[in-house]
């Protein structure tokens, strides 16, 4: 597996921390899956409740890498300011950069994304940009300083899987040395396996696990699928063919007509 700004991960599963039925189930999902990265966010804190403090302790206890996001940001300024606040709180250069451009699909505003990525990279951030499979945008993100690209599989929270296999395969082929993560849209473990079989280095998901009937079991299922897909890729799969080819040797077959 390629590294992420010099960090080698134990596995290719990055798991979100939102929407779980309870903090205990969140922790159990991480324990059973062994996910190597937890994505987190920033929201307004109340001086009375201080709810964020308990959550932060829970995340620290997981013992995983923390990837803060700029979820919900719609402008470059908003995303850059949020990234600075996240770097101070989480004490990491990593930032999952989201600049949302369209409300129905939560599609990234790739123009704002490239600009924000350049600003943050020049300021020492290690940017994980949530992008599309567009190769031109990908190239501009790399020139802006990104060493990781995170194309969507499908719209966030949709569970539709890999909507554009051709585009995602092209991205892998086009950038053989870049760490690639499928971010968003996965609904089933088989889709995660398919992403890893394409040669992607990791998958990042949240809703598929958190909204499953048994989130911890689903997290483990995704971890197993990620491992299976990765091994399948490394093992150099056969080329598909249009016509049948008998796998059992015909030489020596009895003549029984």
């Amino acid at each position: 597996m390629r590294d992420f700004y010099g960090t080698r991960l134990a596995n290719g599963l990055m798991l979100g921390t939102a929407q779980y039925p309870s903090p205990a189930i969140l922790a159990e999902a991480f324990r059973r899956s062994g996910a190597s990265v937890a994505t987190v966010s920033l929201r307004r804190e109340s001086g009375q409740d201080r709810a964020g403090q308990d959550f932060w302790q829970l995340i620290r206890d997981l013992g995983v890498h923390v990837l803060p996001n700029t979820a919900g940001c719609h402008s470059v300024k908003e995303a850059v300011t949020t990234a600075h606040m996240a770097r101070e709180i989480f004490d990491t250069k990593w930032i999952k950069l989201e600049v949302i451009g369209e409300e129905d699909t939560l599609q990234p505003d790739v123009f704002g994304l490239v600009e924000a990525a350049r600003i943050l990279s020049e300021d020492g951030f290690q940017v994980f940009p949530y992008t599309t499979e567009d190769l031109v945008v990908a190239d501009k993100l790399l020139h802006a300083g990104c060493e990781v690209l995170m194309p969507w599989g499908a719209p966030i929270g949709s569970g539709l899987g890999l909507n554009n296999l051709f585009g995602l395969r092209a991205m892998r082929s086009h950038f053989p040395d870049v760490s690639l993560v499928i971010d968003a849209g996965l609904g089933l473990p088989s889709q995660a396996a398919a992403a890893m079989e394409l040669g992607y280095d990791a998958v990042l998901l949240n809703t598929a696990v958190a909204k499953a009937g048994d989130p911890a079991a689903m997290a483990e299922a995704f971890a197993t699928a990620v491992r299976a897909g990765q091994l399948g890729c490394i093992a150099d799969p056969m080329e598909p063919r249009d016509m049948a080819a008998p796998s059992t040797p015909v030489i020596g077959k009895a003549f029984l007509e």
């Binding site: 979100g16 921390t17 939102a18 929407q19 779980y20 969140l26 994505t39 987190v40 966010s41 920033l42 929201r43 307004r44 804190e45 109340s46 001086g47 009375q48 201080r50 709810a51 964020g52 403090q53 959550f55 932060w56 995340i59 803060p68 996001n69 979820a71 300024k77 300011t81 600075h84 606040m85 996240a86 101070e88 709180i89 989480f90 966030i156 929270g157 968003a184 998901l205 949240n206 809703t207």
Partner: protein
């Protein structure tokens, strides 16, 4: 003076950002701050004077995907 704290209008006697955090119960909480849309690092809060009408954001770790 009157200002906005996380979108709510409040009256405060606090002259600086760090004094405001103390007065509003944040104490030693793990938070990040911005004033009028600009990030203010923790080390600069004590020197950051507040003005009437300032919009202060105090953010903390939360669940995210």
């Amino acid at each position: 003076m009157r200002l906005q704290l996380n979108g709510a209008s409040i009256d405060t006697q606090a002259a600086t950002l760090s004094a405001l955090l103390q007065a509003e119960g944040f104490g030693d909480a793990k938070v990040a701050t911005a004033v009028n849309g600009t990030f203010v690092p923790a080390l600069e809060r004590a020197d950051h004077a507040l003005n009437p009408g300032d919009a202060i954001e105090v953010l903390a770790p939360m669940q995210g995907g």
